[in-house]
Amino acid sequence: MTGRMNERFELNKNLAQMLKGGVIMDVTGPEQAKIAEAAGACAVMALERIPADIRAAGGVSRMSDPKMIKGIQQAVTIPVMAKCRIGHFTEAQILEAIEIDYIDESEVLSPADDRYHIDKAQFAVPFVCGAKDLGEALRRINEGAAMIRTKGEPGTGDIIQAVRHMRMMQSEIRRFKSMSIDELYDAAKVLQVPYELALYVHEKGKLPVVNFAAGGVATPADAALMMQLGAEGVFVGSGIFKSGNPERRAAAIVKAVTNFNDPKVLAELSEDLGEAMVGINEAEITLLMAERGK
């Protein structure tokens, strides 16, 4: 990376640091974006259909209409993110052209490339990418991702995959931390990641960028569970606007992320939220989005 791009990468990692301890909510229009902002979202993800509906509709799912995204940018003052397909660098160029604050190169959309992810270091705008384990996370960071999230299983309301991915990452981080240097050379080779990134994890005991939870969060307890497992913040997709009382549930999840370690507060927050999204169990789905892009 050149000096200028290095500087950009630092600034982009820094923006993710400002989002920590916060909740990023999927919204499909300006009205939902305003509800999310008022409920305490630290950023919104603009998309035409939330993952549960993408799953229900089937077919190819693509980047959202820039006009719809711009409408959301005008409706709120918090950062606005949007998704492009894995490997679809032209969709990413379009999102950069409309000055999106963060691009999610996302497995929720249909992948455009089954081999190559986007060379994210070429962009000034930051990227967040999903990962199921430490290897995927470090490969995405090597490609230029300035923020990582678990993949989870979007649109299901089932937390099991996000838990699995976060536990896997944390356990691998702890393993890296305790390795000798010769073991670390081998571990980097096995995970197919650059040694420098492996060394960072070994020395600091964390990813080089901020790590959020995503995919299947439906309740304040789900959000707090992910925080206790080591997430630095939470994405909520279908869980809010597929529930009976989006305003109330959104606000409760925001507070649950702040006081994730206090069961008394969590108990109060979990009261009277109305119907949660119905959800689909892991075993009932045929399309595993988390298997897209490795």
Binding site: E10, L15, P79, E99
Partner: protein, 189 residues
């Protein structure tokens, strides 16, 4: 000396780490009981001011903290923290403590593509690294406000009595000039 860091949302861990590097005790404020024992100083971190402002109220922290600041509690706000302390904020619907006689502009440099790094003098110390992330700046200051740093013709750090603000993020990176200034000149004054 014990400094409370408002830990509702944003980059609060970074402030805790900078203070610990300086050998100062720091604790996180997430709910009312965290401030029962008082503190010698308060830091309002970067994050989203709309979120922090809402949570301050929802968690009943707003009134006691405002009262403490009005009674002279030393306070240091970075970025979103600056917006919470400013009396006037252009283009922001999230009312804060409004204790400092400045007019600030939110997201003054635009979206993330407008974020930047600078090196400027701060309170007479040259070449202090400054990270601006979707940052505000100070459009104008009242009579009792001391300007501590400027970049590109805009005021980016200022002090009024017990209140210190920066539009940038001294908690990112390893330079501790601004934190040391807060401890030596605001908390210890």
């Amino acid at each position: 000396m014990s400094i409370g860091i408002l830990a509702l949302q944003g980059a609060f861990i970074e402030h805790v780490m900078r203070l610990r590097e300086l050998g100062v005790e720091a604790f996180e404020i997430r709910q009312l009981r965290d401030i029962e024992d008082g503190m010698d100083g308060l830091i309002l971190p970067g994050g989203e001011s709309t979120v922090i402002s809402k949570l301050l109220r929802d968690l009943q922290l707003f009134d006691p903290l405002r009262e403490s600041i009005e009674n002279g509690l030393p306070v240091f706000g970075t970025c979103a923290g600056l917006l919470l302390l400013a009396k006037n904020v252009v283009n922001d619907g999230a009312p804060g403590f409004a204790v400092m006689d400045i007019t600030a502009k939110r997201n003054a440099y635009g979206r993330q593509l407008g974020s930047f790094l600078a090196k400027e003098s701060f309170a007479g110390v040259p070449n202090v690294p400054m990270t601006f992330i979707r940052a505000p700046f100070i459009e104008s200051v009242g009579a009792g406000v001391e300007i501590l740093a400027q970049t590109g013709g805009h005021i980016v750090a200022a002090r009024q009595d017990n209140v210190l603000v920066t539009a940038f993020h001294p908690e990112l990176g390893d330079d501790v000039t601004v934190h040391r200034y807060f401890l030596d000149n605001v908390v210890d004054s």
